[in-house]
């Protein structure tokens, strides 16, 4: 699968400029004050300005540079990404509404499915064994304040 090479330094630099300018903008809204009596916004604005500057330098450094190390970022790994992120989201939602056990099962089960070499059965076994760990280690031994099972928002 052929990929269009992107210049990572351009994108990285642009991202830093974006973050930097955002911080400068925000900093001014907090009040900059003077050198003698700095407002809350002085430091963030100064750091933000520096960050934007460094962002420009990053892009300059990348001038004429071909995107390096193409081998390591082959094709996008949507299945893995979605499963890992989806697992965490499921943990938050299920943790809020149904308790620790369903949340534990969900995060392990869903993220395990992100690996192509895992079958549904393997993922389920792994998830169940983590549920046992959750009960023994976190609920019983460490007395974590997290109900095992419940219904509705806390």
């Amino acid at each position: 699968m052929r990929k269009r090479a992107i210049n990572k330094d351009y994108y990285g630099g642009a991202l830093m400029i974006l973050f930097g300018l955002g911080a400068v903008f925000d900093g001014f809204s907090y009040g900059v004050g003077s050198l003698r009596h700095m407002g809350s916004g002085f430091f963030p604005a100064a750091i933000g300005a520096l960050l934007a500057l460094v962002g420009v330098m990053t892009a300059i450094e990348g001038l004429g540079r071909k995107s390096a190390a193409v081998g390591q970022d082959a094709s996008p790994e949507w299945r893995g990404w979605l499963c890992i992120l989806g697992g965490i989201v499921a943990f938050i939602v299920l943790g809020e509404y149904t308790g620790l056990l369903p949340a534990t099962f969900a995060i392990v089960f869903i993220s395990a499915l992100g690996d192509r070499k895992n079958s549904v059965k393997v993922a389920a076994i792994l998830a169940l064994s983590m549920c046992v760990v959750a009960v023994i280690v976190f609920w019983w031994a460490l007395q974590l304040q997290f109900p095992l099972l419940q219904w509705g928002a806390r």
């Binding site: 990572k8 990285g12 991202l15 830093m16 973050f19 911080a23 925000d26 907090y30 003077s34 050198l35 003698r36 009596h37 700095m38 809350s40 430091f43 963030p44 750091i47 933000g48 960050l51 460094v54 990053t58 450094e61 390096a68 190390a69 390591q72 970022d73 082959a74 790994e77 299945r79 893995g80 990404w81 499963c83 890992i84 992120l85 697992g87 965490i88 989201v89 943990f91 938050i92 943790g95 809020e96 620790l100 949340a103 534990t104 995060i107 392990v108 395990a112 992100g114 690996d115 192509r116 070499k117 895992n118 393997v122 983590m130 959750a134 976190f138 460490l142 974590l144 304040q145 997290f146």
Partner: protein
């Protein structure tokens, strides 16, 4: 003379603290847990410490810090095992150990290489501890003369060194440090009570959560990039106790490399901001230069194992000096330990030795106990570690993800922290993909509030005169060092540009390291 006497008395006191049953148990737990997690592929010291950090919130400060330190050097021992036996740089400082360690394994001397690595590690750690015992009080005396002006300048130097001497592009390292500083000051401004960068989210008023930030960047971010890409590691490897005894010849060959490695590690440990990776590389390069038979390197020279391993361990110990006495962490792991101290309500700095002698001297003494324990532990358990190394990634990351989620929840008993992990995971993955090294973010994050506070105070005292940083001599020296550092980087950049085309064709081992680089 009296100074040395005093240090020795204090050290004895430290041993009495470290041997209190409660402290000893936690220290042992930390060492074992660190060793275990360090062996597991894909999880280094940073991941190990952040996963176990929430545990410390309810512990006494001394026990907490002994445990965290134990995790740190325990995971270093674990890392060497993967590097030597499976050519797997579990974490980047050990990448260079692979170069000769793995060929030794292929030649059937892997056990001996491990043995040498352990002897070198223990020796180097002991030297590092001694340096810490006698050097720290001296540094403290100097540090007491520091006002906010000096503290700001030295922090600036630490940040700059940390970001430019880490791996990859120096400019990008600086960008990450700045990003970290911004993250660090998010939340309520202690001077004015104003909330900054909270986007109206109330839980952010207390600032970004340290554990969530770490686990997002170094845990989730790493998983996102390695899922379905982590190679299956070799199997069928057997290791027995008697294989681990190096021959007399091998011991003799590794003696001087061990000494040189220790010296390199100690030197880089005192310099703030130099990562362990660069230390091991310098040690290896030096060994190759000194050797009469440099062609043996890369094909299983035992010197190539002894020297970098010694360097990384003496550095690990010496690294604690600036962290504990000046409150300035040398690298990301130290930043994390500093953050843990702050959570315990302990401010590292020159006052630490006097205000909390139990922590300082207890920590030093526990280093010895822990290192001795690691040697004793690793010899009989090596077979188990080898099995652990073969735990497939497909089981490992879902389980680790669960520990991350629960661990973050437990810091505040709130699911908001888990959401933070999600966000930082995505951000971390994007940044790593764009070839930023994310470790300096942590450095900036921990130092952010302190840098701002000292900057403010220094200018308040000088009535807004920026020249104060140059007029005060100690501060001027630090700023001069900063300028020198920048000049060196600029010069290196120009030389590199002239020598086009840029050598981007990295070797596979190199590339993998770049990929796994998050604990420079």
């Amino acid at each position: 003379m009296t100074m040395i006497d005093k240090s020795l008395t204090d050290l004895l006191y430290g041993f009495s603290v470290a041997f209190q049953p409660h402290n000893l148990v936690w220290s042992i737990f930390g060492v074992v847990a660190g060793n275990l997690i360090g062996v597991l592929p894909g999880l280094g010291a940073l991941a190990a410490i952040s996963i176990l950090l929430p545990l410390t919130y309810t512990m006494a400060p001394v026990a907490a810090i002994l445990m965290l330190a134990g995790i740190f050097y325990g995971s270093m021992y674990g890392g060497a095992i993967g590097a030597i036996l499976l050519n797997l740089p579990v974490h980047s400082p050990h990448a260079v150990t692979c170069l000769d360690g793995y060929p030794l394994t292929k030649n059937g001397r892997g056990g001996a290489a491990l043995g040498v690595a352990m002897i070198a590690s223990f020796f180097a750690a002991s030297v590092g501890i001694l340096v810490m015992v006698f050097f720290s009080p001296l540094l403290v005396e100097v540090a007491f003369k520091f006002g906010p002006t000096e503290v700001f300048s030295i922090m600036l130097l630490g940040l700059l060194a940390g970001s430019t001497m880490a791996k990859g592009s120096a400019v990008k390292g600086v960008a990450m440090t700045l990003l970290g500083l911004l993250l660090g000051i998010a939340g309520t401004d202690v001077d004015t009570g104003m909330t900054r960068f909270t986007f109206g989210l109330l839980p952010l008023d207390d600032g970004v959560d340290l554990v969530a930030l770490c686990m997002g960047l170094f845990g989730v971010g790493e998983f996102l990039l390695s899922v379905n890409r982590m190679a299956v590691v070799g199997s069928g490897l057997k290791m027995r106790l008697r294989d681990m005894r190096p021959s007399k010849e091998e011991l003799k060959k590794s003696f001087f490399p061990m000494l040189r490695g220790t010296a390199v590690g100690t030197f880089f440990g005192v310099l703030p901001g130099t990562g362990p990776t660069i230390t091991t590389f310098v040690a290896y390069a030096l060994e190759r230069k000194v050797s009469k038979t440099p062609e043996r390197f890369g094909h299983g020279a035992i010197e190539g194992v002894a020297s970098p391993e010694a360097a990384s361990h003496s550095k690990t110990q010496v690294d604690f000096i600036p962290t504990m006495t000046l409150g300035i962490p040398g690298d990301a792991v130290m930043a994390l330990i500093l953050g843990a101290l702050l959570i315990q309500g302990i401010q590292p700095g020159p006052q630490l030795i006097i205000a909390h002698p139990d922590i300082f001297w207890g920590l030093i003494a526990s280093f010895w106990v822990g290192n001795l324990l690691l040697v004793l532990l690793n010899v009989p358990l090596i077979g188990l570690w080898v099995k652990l190394l073969q735990v497939p990634y497909k089981y490992l990351f879902p389980s680790a993800l669960f520990f991350i989620a629960v661990g973050c929840y437990s810091t505040q008993n709130s699911l908001f922290q888990v959401g933070e992990v999600l966000v930082f995971g995505i951000v971390g993955a994007i940044l790593i993909y764009l070839e930023f090294s994310v470790a300096p973010i942590l450095l900036g994050y921990v130092l952010g509030p302190m840098v701002e506070e000292n900057f403010r105070r220094a200018l308040l005292i000088s009535h807004g005169d920026m020249m104060v940083f140059i007029h005060r001599p100690i501060s001027a020296w630090f700023l001069g060092a900063c300028a020198a550092l920048i000049l060196v980087q600029v010069a290196a950049f120009i030389i590199k540009k002239r020598r086009r085309p840029r050598p981007d064709g990295e070797t596979p081992a190199n590339r993998r390291m770049h990929f796994m680089d998050n604990e420079t």
